[in-house]
Symmetry: C2
Subunit: 289 residues, 2 copies
Amino acid sequence: MLLLPSPETGVTQEPPFRDRLYADACENILPTLPNDSFDLIVTSPPYADRRRHTYGGIAPDDYVRWFLPLAAELKRVLKPDGSFILNIKERVVDGERHTYVLELIMALRQQGWRWTEEYCWHKKNCYPGKWPNRFRDSWERCLHFTRHKDFKMYQEAVMVPVGEWAGSRLKALSATDKIRDESRAGSGFGKNVSNWVGRDKVYPTNVLHMATEVSNQRHSAAFPVSLPAWFIQLFTREGDLVLDPFMGSGTTAVAARSLCRHYTGIEKEADYCDIARQRLATTAWGSGL
Amino acid sequence: MLLLPSPETGVTQEPPFRDRLYADACENILPTLPNDSFDLIVTSPPYADRRRHTYGGIAPDDYVRWFLPLAAELKRVLKPDGSFILNIKERVVDGERHTYVLELIMALRQQGWRWTEEYCWHKKNCYPGKWPNRFRDSWERCLHFTRHKDFKMYQEAVMVPVGEWAGSRLKALSATDKIRDESRAGSGFGKNVSNWVGRDKVYPTNVLHMATEVSNQRHSAAFPVSLPAWFIQLFTREGDLVLDPFMGSGTTAVAARSLCRHYTGIEKEADYCDIARQRLATTAWGSGL
DNA sequence: GTTCCGCATGAATCGATAG
DNA sequence: ACTATCGATTCATGCGGAA
């Protein structure tokens, strides 16, 4: 956590952006945030030409030019040993995959980011439909960028049990399950964890199996809580600070708070910001574990 | 199948490259093959296979320059409505993913190829190992390129059993499904319902779950027969002709032959070519998977 | 208190039709 | 010609109500 000394008392105090939601465009807010402030940035920006009703839609050919200045700000406000997770998938244009995501990766490297890894999010419940030249798109990229070769990573926090759970390990860790078990006299999930003690655990791979959330949120992006939760556990410790510059209905902030991490959320649509506030109001600190 | 008229008898005959293995480098063989000859090209070039020690090793920075002239030949020998499946994954260089695969995709588009789709091959049993900054790499790209917007695709050949949910749902068709279909399709109400009743197979997605083959062949490639077999069933019919310009131990040829397709294989290492011949000798035409 | 079961919905894409 | 809109197609999941 970044702590600022109070100008009057000289005592360190919380920065004003900690656990705060900004109902404004991130191009307006990011420049106001100080350098090296965040341990992790997790976001799912508007995909090109998608969600055009709420975000106006960026043309695929303009996507890199639109994103690059924001990425420069993100690089500035990220701590040197922090990570930036970008969830994105290119859309089909004229029957073929557009290359703007590939171009974005290379442009971010030109900007000084390191393309450390590409995680594969396998969406078990992808959009239905049938076309003569392709199948349903069932995966998205979670691009992992860092500022330096060395960065913080807490692999033990996301270890999974071996055996029958291996196939659906991440589903087993979905936030919904955890909340449900928590609500049942608090014995559900904790008990399961204690059952796992003594069994062998293994590290996961770079393929994540998670279903999208199709209801409950009035936001069109199907970003499940378990996705930012996984990266938050992997790249931060309790008390760290997580930024989502395209917060939407607050999924990243909810994940952070339930895992005892602080958040900063930016969302230019006031309606979504209100939804996020409501969700956070009913999310107890530390409820996720 | 391409059939050439015999210069002596005038009767059509099999082309000389049908069901043939070439123990030579593909840059030597490809120029000898005629235009528009193959229905499908499936290959896993060096690097995706981690065969670099046997191929002399192409430096990542030289990869596109090395591959591009070969791709031009591949485009020439592929039928206009054929497909080119390139199984590849970029290496980690100096702690980050190298961009040569991204650059290759864009260079192939410059060459006239269409980047129609990117299938995700999820390797259920990936290599073990542990690193401080990344997890095991459990997926590879299967890039789908075509010459034109329209191409051959036989989706019914790779349908998969429907999920467990269907048992309860199809037992009693819901009224709202009918309403929804009716509202959208207008008169298509009865037809839609009858389409679902009795359906036990669905179309797959663009994520393939296949385990790698370990230590079965003396070749180091972890390219399972099921991977080319899936694309062969999807993009060709019986009697069609499949090319693998980096054949290795003959996995693509074995898959083709067992599925009643013809093959042409190119492999510059004579030892691998011998292994491929042995495998093909014990693979019956139409023996299945 | 479990389990079962009905049901709405989703970062989609293509082809035809209209301007 | 070239762009914008619209209808058709399709399947896995979590939630809530019922047994």
